[in-house]
Amino acid sequence: MSDPRSSGSQFSSEEFLARLIAREHEAVTSVVRAYTGQLLRTALGLGFDEPTGHELVQSAWVTFFDVLHRFEARSHVRTFLFGILYNKASELRRDHKRFDSKDPVEEVLESRFDSSGHWQVPPLDPEEFLMRVETAGVLEKCLEGLPMNQRMAFTLREVQELETAEVCQALEITGSNLGVLLYRARNRLRECIERKRGR
């Protein structure tokens, strides 16, 4: 079983791609075995239940093979695959992937600082914060509140299956967009957790 963290550049060679396009059995098997686990874990991480996660992953693979002839081997096969999963996940949640210029969390954050940039409403005690994060269901509930692009950015970054450049390519965003998405995701999550009552 290949190392899931490998960039899989062998899969992007012209020769291998030709075999995939021809749906040659050995090639198909090796690429499906290389990435299905990661895809499923990501789908579950995005909050889909198991049956839906399975469907999403299958659907992503079917599309992958259907459009493979259009794939230009400038990025890795894995990146392409995750991009497809992301599109399907967004469709399923009826979530636009548009990068909004503003996000509600910005105003919330503003209110926590005074005009000179000092904390006005300081962060919650970390022990209390930790207790809430470890309370069953709290993190899941807070993740549910994230728009898909923020959730995908956070999930891919925290699970660390993909390198930053790959995350950007899969989401079709720049590195600086990614920074903004993570800023929004992390702060929304923090604010959500801080607002939950403890056990």
Binding site: T36, R41, L44, Q58, G117, W119, F154, T164, G179, I193
Partner: protein, 86 residues
């Protein structure tokens, strides 16, 4: 001198990758470290982000725990579905 608000922005938008737009000079990085040593609110904030990251990783691990068999089954289903018609 970095304000707490700027520190929060820097910490929470960390992407872990190399982005030329976000390359910080060693001076700014040193300033960040100094601020975190001196400011207990920002130190708490940084700790919250770590707890959040760790919590998320543990959650994803738990979700993926008994998946090995299911993944194998899913792989077989996919291979069957996409294979060349005989």
């Amino acid at each position: 001198m970095l304000s707490c608000k700027e520190v929060v922005e820097i910490l929470s938008s960390e992407t872990g990758g190399i982005d030329p737009h976000r390359q910080f000079s060693w001076m700014k990085r040193a300033g960040l470290r100094l601020h975190l040593m001196a400011c207990r609110h920002c130190a708490r904030y940084a700790r919250q982000l770590r707890v959040l990251g760790d919590g998320a990783r543990r959650l994803f691990e738990r979700q993926g725990l008994d998946s090995a068999e299911k993944i194998e089954r899913l792989e077989r289903q996919v291979i069957e579905k996409v294979k060349k018609p005989d």
